[in-house]
Amino acid sequence: MAEIPFPLPDLGEGLIEATVLEWLVGEGDQVERNQPLVEVETTKSALELPSPQSGKVLKLHGAPGDVIKVGEPLIVFEVPDDTAGIVGTVPSEEAPKRRVRLSANLDDD
């Protein structure tokens, strides 16, 4: 297994930090990509951060009320070694499906 840390992303607008309001996942949870992870508040607004990837939550950084700086670790995921760091999605192997049928007269072959 590989550990993938996810730092507090750059929230734009020159913001340098955010306060943790509430965690929406817990350590040990399996999360999907885009699933809401945490509510944070900046000096400008409150927002919900979606998960950048799927994986198991290994560690949460910061309790509600704690201030986390942009770039500091927010959460650590654990993912299977062979999917770590990939850009894109591991293709799923599905049974081949078809709509087209073939017909041919092969008598003269």
Binding site: L21, P36, E39, E48
Partner: protein, 269 residues
């Protein structure tokens, strides 16, 4: 992603196009329920109030079709120069036209997808209150977040704000100073458009008792919300309304609260 303004059906109210940014979001598995109109707060936007806060994904997950509109001078909407474009009555008329253009239809007991549910936050709650009260044939249910029976914008010291913006003269009135600070901090908002909005609101201040919505109402506010003053006064006008306070939250950070979203989705289901 939402579909943006420029949909095939597009009508203007009284012949002028306010240039409002409209987004509709379609759920993957639609529930047999009306669309949900989202109205954001002062100096906020669809992006801040509803997207980044996680409301739109949460509503889509619940199978709800979402119509979200940036108010004039906010987000991606135009910032017209004439004050009339910002008057609450004009905004309500535009919202009504947009809701119809995006497929909302009057309530019909035989059709569960008919009607329109409305969620407003802060100034959006005031607009939702009036919208519900004036459109009983369309609006099915209302969720009012961080509302106020008084109108902080009506009491806004416009002259002090203009002096502050011109030469930095400090603003004495605390509420005005806070609202200006909030507006200055808000990305994508046009300060002068926001002041036009304030000017228009001063012409048409909120009077909750003037028109009281008859729909089922859920009122939600942060326990520490200093702006949601007079919740009790609103509640007394609609005693049947459900009231929910979110522990530890204030006017800014109650928006994202999971408990708020869950209560709203449940109330509107």
């Amino acid at each position: 992603m939402g579909r943006h303004a420029g949909s095939p059906v597009h009508h203007t109210v009284e012949g002028t196009d306010p240039g409002l940014n409209v987004q509709t979001h379609e759920p993957e598995s639609p529930a047999p329920l009306p669309p949900v109109l989202l109205i954001h707060g002062f100096a906020s936007s669809v992006a801040l109030n509803w997207e980044q806060s996680g409301w739109i994904p949460a509503l889509l997950d619940a199978g709800r079709r979402v119509i979200a509109v940036d108010l004039p001078g906010h987000g991606l909407s135009a910032a017209p120069e004439d004050v009339d474009s910002y008057s609450p009555s004009r905004i309500r008329a535009d919202l009504l036209q947009i809701a119809f253009d995006e497929g909302a239809r009057p309530l019909d007991p035989a059709r569960p997808e008919s009607g329109l549910d409305v969620i407003g936050y802060s100034l959006g709650s005031r607009l939702a209150w009036e919208f519900g009260a004036t459109q009983p044939a369309l609006v099915r249910r209302l969720v009012l977040g961080g509302p106020s029976s008084r109108d902080p914008l009506a009491e806004f010291d416009l002259a002090a704000a203009q002096r502050f913006l011109a030469d930095g003269t400090p603003i004495d009135d605390e509420s005005t100073a806070n609202l200006v600070a909030m507006a200055l901090a808000s990305p994508n908002s046009d300060m002068y458009a926001l002041l036009s909005l304030v000017e228009a609101i001063k012409e048409e201040p909120f009077d909750a008792a003037e028109a009281v919505p008859q729909q089922p109402i859920l009122i939600v506010a942060g326990e520490k919300d200093e702006r949601a003053a007079g919740l009790e006064a609103l509640h007394s006008l609609v005693p049947s309304a459900q009231l929910m306070l979110i522990p530890g939250r204030n006017h800014v950070n109650a928006v994202t609260a999971r408990a708020f979203k869950q209560a709203a989705i449940e109330f509107l289901s």
